[in-house]
């Protein structure tokens, strides 16, 4: 058992960097954020260390409550569309043969790994006044003047859906891949309609992937202020945009911290719900 003793000693050395790093740069900073949210802004610069609930009261003002509502609305809308588009995509992909699976995976990963900004940039070309979409629509005589789609709500929704769709596809795919399609076949042989077979077998068995995809798209969609910024101009203000503004122009760290704290609580509630529904601790398809 000599090696076991050695193992125990070297174990600490292995764990030490992870412990130190996680406590110092993840746990403490997040605790600091919660502390900060109960402090107030100093007169000129920085933070005044006196306890207050003012920041949270301010969030309840109609202006900021409206921002939260607007963010949630956009997140729900985008996530809904992503489910509708991404679920069948991931599901069908899992049914393909090995060669096509690999090809499709490559096609999904190329834009996914390139750059979120660069991918949004392409949509500017599409949506811009007298841009590609306007030209096509006017060419087909569907409209007779530019639609002014850039800097509009639909453009932001498209940007959100486009940026986050791969998360859903990968999550559903990884879950559907494990699905034993012979079960579906058996139920079909026994006389179930294809809809019934899907509803009673495929959907429940791919539910962890679907739910994980929802979490993975809903959570980031509340924070991706740059999509609203680039494709929505400054017309659409989301929680993310307010946090950004409070930190930069407003120089109000405590208020930004309170907004972040609320956003973080919403996020952890969602993850809780996911764990409760699926009984699984890890998000499917995250890696």
């Amino acid at each position: 058992m000599r090696s076991a003793v050695k193992k125990g000693k070297s174990n600490w050395l292995l764990l030490l960097p992870m412990y130190i790093f996680t406590i110092l740069f993840v746990a403490l900073p997040i605790l600091y954020m919660f502390l900060l949210s109960f402090l107030s802004r100093a007169e000129v610069w920085g933070v005044d260390f006196t306890f207050t609930l003012e920041n949270y009261k301010r969030i309840l003002e109609p202006l900021y409550l409206g921002t939260f509502a607007e963010s949630l609305k956009l997140a729900f809308l985008s996530t809904g569309l992503i489910v509708l588009i991404g679920y069948p995509y991931g599901y069908f992909m899992a049914k393909m043969n090995a060669v096509w699976k690999k090809r499709m995976m490559l096609l999904i990963m190329i834009p996914f790994l390139t750059s979120a900004l660069i991918r949004l940039y392409g949509w500017i070309i599409v949506f811009r006044s007298n841009g590609v979409l306007d030209k096509i629509l006017m060419g087909l005589h569907i409209t007779d003047k530019p639609l002014k789609l850039l800097y509009s709500y639909p453009a932001v929704v498209v940007g959100m859906v486009y940026s986050l769709l791969p998360f859903m596809i990968l999550a559903v795919y990884s879950s559907a891949e494990k699905l034993d399609f012979s079960l579906v076949e058996a139920s079909r042989d026994l006389g179930a309609s294809s809809l019934k077979a899907f509803w009673t077998i495929s959907l429940p068995l791919t539910l962890p992937g679907l739910l994980s995809g929802i979490v993975l798209t809903f959570i980031p969609s509340m924070g991706l202020f740059f999509i609203a910024d680039i494709l929505g101009g400054n017309k659409i203000v989301l929680v993310g945009s307010v946090i950004h503004e409070q930190l930069t122009k407003g120089r109000n760290q405590p208020f930004a911290a309170a907004l972040s704290a609320v956003l973080m609580i919403l996020t952890s509630l969602m993850i809780r719900l996911y764990k409760k529904l699926t009984g699984s601790a890890e998000l499917e398809g995250l890696m």
Binding site: L15, P17, F21, M33, G46, P111, A116, A257
Partner: protein, 260 residues
């Protein structure tokens, strides 16, 4: 099972739509006109302009340094952590592992906000150091969880056999454990690198006045107006991703053949 045709058609159509904006970016990078609404013929002038842009080159170098440093740190922290936690399970380990995953679970903006306030509280000068710390926090989870998943599926008896045959623990690590977890580390690094190289939200908050990363630079350019230079840059970045991914696929395939 016989497959119907329409699922393929559906997947095909969605895939084509997702590639339209990308292809447009590539096409317009060769457009002689500054306006994307008119086509004035083929030209490479935006590429020439891109290569002359010193700020852009500096930003690219910064982004590469940042991603490499964060990945190196994350490989050490994440791999060691996964190995240590795999050997001995206890609730404190689980807690630390859970906390270490937070950076990729919460919206990026929260992480950016947190680091901005903490670094200004600590009085750290904003720049490469703050960027590396912030990026390492979200690189660690990718490597940690990849290695952890690999260790779970690994055959322990190989390590035990090597130990029984008298190999030192260090030797066992180098000759038995490491070769088995290298693929997991590499796929973790690939994801972590891509995330770091692409990050806008967190970088905006923790970057200093003198250090620009490529995504931050692109973001400010995109906000101030459209420059065809970005088209050229996008095309080059896309090309790099394609080469890397196809390269990885080819290497993976030949690796498998060797094993078989």
């Amino acid at each position: 099972m016989k497959m119907k045709k329409w699922p393929f058609v559906y997947v095909g159509i969605i895939t084509v739509i997702t590639y339209i904006p990308i292809l447009l970016t590539v096409i317009y990078s060769f457009n002689a006109s500054k306006l994307s609404s008119v086509w004035e013929g083929f030209s490479l002038k935006w590429y020439a302009e891109l290569f002359r842009d010193r700020d852009m080159r500096e930003a690219l170098v910064n982004s590469l340094i940042l991603a490499v440093l964060s990945c190196i740190l994350a490989v050490f922290i994440g791999t060691a952590g996964a190995l240590g936690m795999h050997r001995k399970k206890n609730p404190v380990n689980d807690l630390i592992a859970g906390v270490s995953m937070i950076p990729i679970m919460i919206p990026e903006i929260i992480l950016g906000m947190v680091f901005l306030s903490v670094f200004s509280f600590m009085g750290l000068p904003f720049g490469m150091i703050t960027l590396v710390i912030a990026h390492t926090t979200f690189c660690v989870p990718y490597i940690f969880s990849m290695v952890k998943a690999r260790l779970v599926g690994m055959d322990k008896s190989l390590e035990e056999a090597a130990l029984d045959l008298g190999a030192s623990p260090v030797r066992v690590f180098w000759d038995v454990t490491l070769p088995q977890i290298i693929p997991a580390i590499l796929s973790g690094v690939m994801l972590a690198f891509a995330m770091s190289f692409d990050d806008v939200v967190i970088s905006i908050f923790v970057t200093g006045p003198t250090v620009n990363t490529l995504p931050v630079k692109i973001y400010t350019k995109m906000k101030t107006g459209v420059t065809p230079e970005i088209n050229a840059l996008a095309t080059l970045m896309l090309l790099t991703t394609v080469v890397l991914l196809v390269g990885a696929a080819v290497v993976g395939r030949s690796g498998k053949k060797q094993k078989a």
